[in-house]
Amino acid sequence: DVKVTQSSRYLVKRTGEKVFLECVQDMDHENMFWYRQDPGLGLRLIYFSYDVKMKEKGDIPEGYSVSREKKERFSLILESASTNQTSMYLCASSPGDRPYEQYFGPGTRLTVT
């Protein structure tokens, strides 16, 4: 079974802090994604990566950056956390030959106070 793990289930940070969210997948997938999920807005793509050191902006990249130094690991960085970044963050991965079959992690609920 594909396993996507996220470093924290719950995280509380203060405004202005730098926040790192880590994601690891164990299926050798080429593609990795970061989404945020908010009630009534569904899942919105922040960034994705189709290869090591490669990244593409999604629909809402402002205020976020990403890093992919190894194939299995994809990090989401909030340079200076703000209260409007309080959300559920979901990581996903997918194989290169079926990029639309995305496998999600359990999510990190981030609260910025």
Partner: protein, 114 residues
């Protein structure tokens, strides 16, 4: 346009009933339409998917109906059970978007009451 509009926002159905969740899209370049199921505290999981060359696809109690001319697709759950209570998301993508970028609907919270 990349929007996918999903309705209803929430749905309550009695056990054994057939909940129907609808989605509509504008972009004719979309050519792959998956549905994801999310239980509380879990990430979404791929449930079933369809391509526009067929009008219907069944997997167990789950059926997708696709209407290409109307640019609409829907999820039906036959003989619904309380264990089907979850949030359901429709999505769409296409080769024009590299097939990686899924555009999700806003979700439907489904509750099946015994």
């Amino acid at each position: 346009q990349q929007q996918v509009k999903q309705s209803p926002q929430s749905l309550i159905v009695q056990k054994g009933g057939i909940p129907i969740i609808n989605c509509a899209y504008e972009n004719t370049a979309f050519d792959y339409f998956p549905w994801y199921q999310q239980f509380p505290g879990k990430g979404p999981a791929l449930l079933i998917a369809i391509r526009p060359d067929v009008s219907e696809k069944k997997e167990g109690r789950f059926t997708i109906s696709f209407n290409k001319s109307a640019k609409q697709f829907s999820l039906h759950i036959m003989d619904s059970q309380p264990g089907d209570s979850a949030t359901y998301f429709c999505a769409a993508t296409g080769s024009n978007f590299g097939n990686e970028k899924l555009t999700f609907g806003t979700g439907t919270r489904l509750t099946i009451i015994p």
